[in-house]
């Protein structure tokens, strides 16, 4: 398994390179530059800016320069935040996004699996219908509707929780964003769990366990849970992607200085280096996560073997 992981990681390098090339071309293809504004710069100043940021060099040269610096850890200055470097901005915002995303993922997995299992056990009863109805609404209503409604009721009207990020320093400001982010995933995972659990519970070896007199809880915990988790584990990849997408919305609504915010602003402001830096970091993270998911899959499902 170690050899497999190493091989995968090595193979990831050309992937990463390809990703960077693609993103580089895309960002530079966008019309407009980072220093355009209604106040047109005098020619002399514009030339100086271009020279300082190497924007006057041909694209391939800029690309090589960028890669050479990136490999040594220097992701360049931000064009929009002239007092900060890209590394500083990412270092400041990535932990927040990761915290938010992980908490949301955790919440989604725990609550989703629990809800789905309960629904499966009480299949076709009222409980089942209610849980599935909630799940269905969770995947049918976009986050940018749920989040503002949550803010309106819980933060503005009832003032139970902070409406924004910068107004306080405690953990309370995490609650609403995490819940908003997790809701659609809770819904998906609940549905997946229910379907998978129903399948597993109907299989022969479960019947055997029951016949042996094991209680429901024991059956679930020791026999049904692991095999039922297979589809959930495969869903982890898309779930993470879903949380990433949702985080762009949630960060904007709660004013959280996360990576999603910086990316959207960077794309709109033509902040080339910031955009590229974020794409690289994320691609690296996704590659790593995919590897981890595959490895977990191998642990859970004894039928899968890696050579």
């Amino acid at each position: 398994m170690v050899k497999y992981s190493l091989r995968r990681l090595l193979g990831a390098i050309p992937t990463l390179l390809l990703v960077v090339v693609l993103a580089f071309l895309l960002v530079h293809a966008a019309p407009g530059g980072p220093f355009d504004s209604e106040r047109v710069l005098p020619e002399a100043i514009k030339q100086n800016i271009d020279k300082y940021y190497h924007l006057d060099e041909p694209l391939p040269q800029q690309f090589v320069r960028y890669i050479w610096n990136a490999v040594r850890g220097d992701l360049g200055p931000s064009y929009r935040y002239r007092d900060h470097t890209v590394s500083q901005l990412i270092a400041g915002s990535l932990p927040i996004s990761i915290l938010l995303g992980s908490l949301a993922m955790l919440l989604a997995v725990v609550v989703g699996i629990a809800a789905g299992t309960v629904a499966a056990l009480r299949q076709n009863t009222v409980v089942d219908r209610v849980v599935m109805a909630f799940a269905m609404t969770g995947i049918s209503i976009p986050i940018f509707v749920i989040a503002p409604v949550l803010v309106l009721f819980l933060a503005v009207k009832l003032q139970w929780l902070p409406a924004g990020w910068s107004g306080s320093t405690g953990a309370a400001r995490l609650l609403l964003p995490v819940i908003a982010l997790a809701l659609p995933q809770i819904a998906y995972i609940a549905r997946l769990t229910r379907a998978s659990m129903i399948d597993v519970l109907a299989s022969p070896f479960i019947r055997t366990a029951r016949a042996q007199g094991l209680g429901t809880y024991a059956v679930i915990r020791y026999h049904a849970l692991k095999p039922a988790m297979l589809p959930i584990v495969s869903y982890m990849g898309p779930a993470a992607a879903g949380i990433l997408t949702g985080s762009v919305v949630v960060e904007q609504i709660f004013g959280i200085p996360g990576v999603g915010q910086f990316f959207v602003a960077g794309a709109l402001n033509r902040d080339y280096t910031l955009v590229l830096g974020i794409v690289i970091v994320y691609a690296a993270m996704i590659i790593t996560m995919n590897l981890i998911v595959d490895l977990i899959y191998g642990v859970i499902d004894p039928r899968v073997r890696y050579r």
Partner: protein, 284 residues
């Protein structure tokens, strides 16, 4: 327990076909109404009416769903929104279907080196944070309406390709494919005549899952201000506009939002039903 599961199986099957027909029926009804209703209404989606801004449904005469913040009739705009949303979703899914099916079928059937390379490319593309790429695409190509379909289709085809490849691998071993190969039928013909038609089942199932995804991505782009351009609109754009008016004019959010949710639910139920059907047919 055995008897119960057998009974629930039969009940299950009946439920499944009811699920398919009801959700399918609702979707068709919505689509038909969305296309026909604007012809029957005296309003169009363009006309502004500054004296009747943010009128509640039914209040200002002929505005069945009320008006928006420019006094435009919300009923006709919602119908248009449904048309656009369904169109985007169907076209985007079709794009991802065509690319995914051909890619996966070729990789699965040809196998060997070609398969390895093709799947490697898929793995590479999986590593791209897609939503970021979509945002960049939107910025670069300045919100071209056509491009929205392409961009959304470009996200989804990867899963389709993987699944199709898996199916193709098992279909490859079937007798009639062997027979065709032995009698000298060309690879291309085999793929198009024998493999692809047998993929239809699983493809249809996954289409009903990718369509809701495409719809949500389009609405998400509208939220960011990168979606469909004025004066056209989509359900996602209407919902986004409705969110900012949720306290003054709740109907601007509830009506398009409710319809969006309904459409998504129907596609999801449809997918559930079709998947159960497909699995039932598959199992021995």
């Amino acid at each position: 327990m055995i008897t119960i599961s057998a009974a629930s199986n039969a009940i299950g099957r009946a439920r499944v076909s009811r699920l398919i027909s009801i959700s399918g029926g609702i979707l068709v009804a919505i689509a038909v109404i969305a296309i026909v209703a604007p012809w029957l209404s005296p309003n169009n989606y363009l006309d502004t009416d500054f004296d009747n801004i943010l009128a509640a449904p039914g209040v200002a005469g002929v505005h069945l769903f009320g008006t928006d913040d420019l006094g435009r009739d919300l009923f006709v705009r919602t119908m248009m929104g449904i048309q656009v949303t369904l169109l985007v979703a169907l076209v985007a899914s079709f794009v991802s279907l065509v690319i995914g099916v051909l890619y996966g079928a070729i990789a699965g059937y040809v196998g060997g080196r070609v398969d390895a390379v093709m799947m490697r490319i898929v793995d590479t593309l999986y590593a791209l944070p897609f939503i970021f790429i979509v945002i960049l695409l939107m910025v670069v190509f300045e919100r071209n309406f056509l491009l929205i379909f392409v961009a959304i289709g470009a996200i989804n085809w990867l899963d389709m390709a993987r699944i199709v490849r898996g199916q193709t691998l098992s279909l490859k071993e079937k007798e009639y494919v062997e027979a065709a190969r032995l009698t000298g039928v060309s690879t291309v013909r085999i793929i198009l005549r024998h493999i692809v038609p047998n993929l239809i089942g699983i493809v249809i199932v996954y289409i009903t899952l990718t369509i809701p995804q495409a719809i949500l991505v389009e609405s998400f782009l509208s939220f960011l201000g990168l979606g469909i351009q004025e004066p056209q609109t989509s359900l996602g754009a209407l919902v986004d506009a409705g969110v900012s008016q949720k306290e003054n004019a709740a109907w601007m959010l509830l009506i398009p939002g409710g319809l969006l949710a309904l459409i998504l639910m129907c596609f999801n139920f449809l997918g559930d039903g079709l998947r159960d059907l497909f699995d039932a047919r598959q199992s021995p």
